[in-house]
Amino acid sequence: MTSIKSTPSLAGAPPAGFGSATRSNRAAETRRKWYEIIGLTTPALVVYVMFVLVPMGFAVYYSLYKWRGVGAPTNFVGFDNYVLAFQDPIFIDALRNNAIIVVGSLLVQGPIALGVALLLNRRFRGRTVFRLLVFVPYVLAEVTVGIMWKLILTDGGTMDALFRSLGLGGLVQAWLADLDIVIWTLLFVLTWKYVGFAIILLLAGLSNVPHELTEAAAIDGAGWWQIQRHVTLPLLGPTIRIWMFLSMIGSLQVFDVIWVTSVPAVRSLGASNTMATYMVDNGFFARLWGYGNAVAVILFVISFVAALLFQRFLLRRDIQGAITGRAN
């Protein structure tokens, strides 16, 4: 490219003179700047709008039709698809399962992750290796994890053999086939898969806690527990809330692990459905495209509202913390 004359920065240090030459220079410079802005952002904008925003718009449109996916939709049914969804007990089961996964993930993964992160945040020989091992489930593909646990948890499989060899044969269950148990089994698999993510985030948050603070507390005679409770944890608040947010959104959309681990028959009875598996089953595989898109919109609205509420709640909490913190 050719060099820009003497106008050094876009922030616009005032040009040396006000002669006509400089003025036209500046106009050319502005035009050039806009060309660059448009040239550099357009590709990203096009891809983003086309594949993220436009499909959601189409989902709303399709959801108002009864449509088998061939030709243009013509059979307008208004909000019937939405009414149908909320009348279907299987979809209500899916909502319940999503709720179990959202709450269960927060309640189970949170404390475990916090404990492990505090443990692995201590400086000791071999820490790096332990960290690496703990993160392994998080990088494995969901499909791999699903198939792995499906084989382990199958009737008369490894898990059952393990329980029996420990003398706990009485606890053996039909982990993936019992309609009352399967959702808890899946929650266990999801916990195993995603707790590593919480640990990574918390370790990152912990590394931002200034050492001076914990050392000062130690000099003042605080024990390890007291330091964690009164110095580290409060400083970790924002990280914990970001993790809660990401975990919640992920749990609402969870598909892969559920789809691969649970048997279709069990899913179709509602015992292990989530909104996303229900949507794909009905929309894509049963070709009820209008109905599937209505479920997609419901899933989107629930995630969106949850995200907004959480952010509000988050924001208020953080502001309050800042204010009370200053008052002290």
């Binding site: 952002t41 594949f51 959601m56 000791f124 020989r125 332990f130 894509f284």
Partner: protein, 276 residues
């Protein structure tokens, strides 16, 4: 940075750490080791060790299945996604970081809005759109949506990084006759390598592991990626437990190796996300 020498911790710490590590990798080890057994061995004693060790399952998967073709497809899609995310993400983030113009913050907010649009919810209309564009059963059908859904987080991570490059450098470059584009290419990119690696690694791993999108848009088995391959193999040969274990181990090997090399970047990237 280093204050105290790294020491040995108490036995309790090691016991706890070992327990956590064991729970994390026991199933993985089980799958890998199980691949060295025969199906009758596994049926007779589901929790036993190989006796004798057999290589046959791994040999079968590597020579007779579609493993290599699927690994190739996964690689094409993941590399394509990563390169495109980087190219588009850096360009947009650079403008949002270093150009002053009307509407800049609005544009940034517009991109971050994408963080609230879950890919899962958009999958049905996305499929319909790709079908109408005649893009299904092509690598693009997976690459383009993946790029689109990775762009918001990419821009969110990259922007503060690009903003932090000192203005003086840009002024100096301008005096030497380098324009803003030259500055982007010759100075910004080399300086922001760590952030680029982070964003790239995150995009690569997400793409390598993706299942739902390829499941819907790639019905042609010749284009199947590894996650689809693993799923198909396991539902096609349900009685071949040893084969499934071997296939699953081989499929997770690349991710494990990749992670071992890129662990610092992944953790570093999430760290940046937490700070931001």
């Amino acid at each position: 940075m280093s204050r105290r020498p790294i020491t040995w911790a108490s036995p309790v710490t090691y016991a706890l750490a070992l327990a956590v590590a064991a729970v994390s990798i026991a199933p993985v080890v089980y799958v890998i080791v199980g691949g060295f057994r025969t199906t009758p061995q596994i049926v007779a004693d589901p929790a036993g060790l190989p006796d004798p060790w057999v290589w046959d399952n791994y040999r079968r998967v590597l020579t007779q299945s579609d493993f290599w073709g699927q690994a190739f497809n996964s690689a094409v899609v993941a590399i394509g996604t990563t390169l495109l995310v980087l190219a588009l993400g850096v360009s947009a983030a650079y403008v949002l970081a270093r150009y002053t113009f009307r509407g800049r913050e609005a544009l940034f907010t517009f991109f971050t809005l994408g963080l609230l649009f879950p890919a899962g919810a958009a999958i049905l209309p996305l499929y319909l759109m790709l079908r109408d564009l005649n893009l299904t059963n092509s690598y693009w059908a997976v690459i383009l949506p993946q790029v689109a859904f990775s762009l918001p987080i990419t821009i969110v991570i990259l922007r503060p990084f690009l903003t932090a490059i000192p203005r003086e450098l840009e002024d100096a470059a301008a005096i030497d006759g380098t324009g803003r584009l030259g500055f982007l290419w010759r100075i910004t990119l080399p300086l922001s390598k760590p952030a680029l690696v982070t964003v790239g690694v995150l995009a690569f791993v997400a793409s390598w592991n993706a299942f739902l999108l390829p499941l819907l848009v790639l019905s042609d088995v010749n284009l199947h990626t590894l996650p689809l391959g693993v799923q198909n193999f396991s539902s096609q040969y349900t009685s071949d437990t040893a084969g499934i274990l071997a296939f699953t181990s081989l499929a997770m090997l690349p991710a494990l190796l990749f992670f071992t090399f890129a662990e610092k970047q992944i953790v570093g990237g999430l760290q940046g996300a937490v700070k931001g």
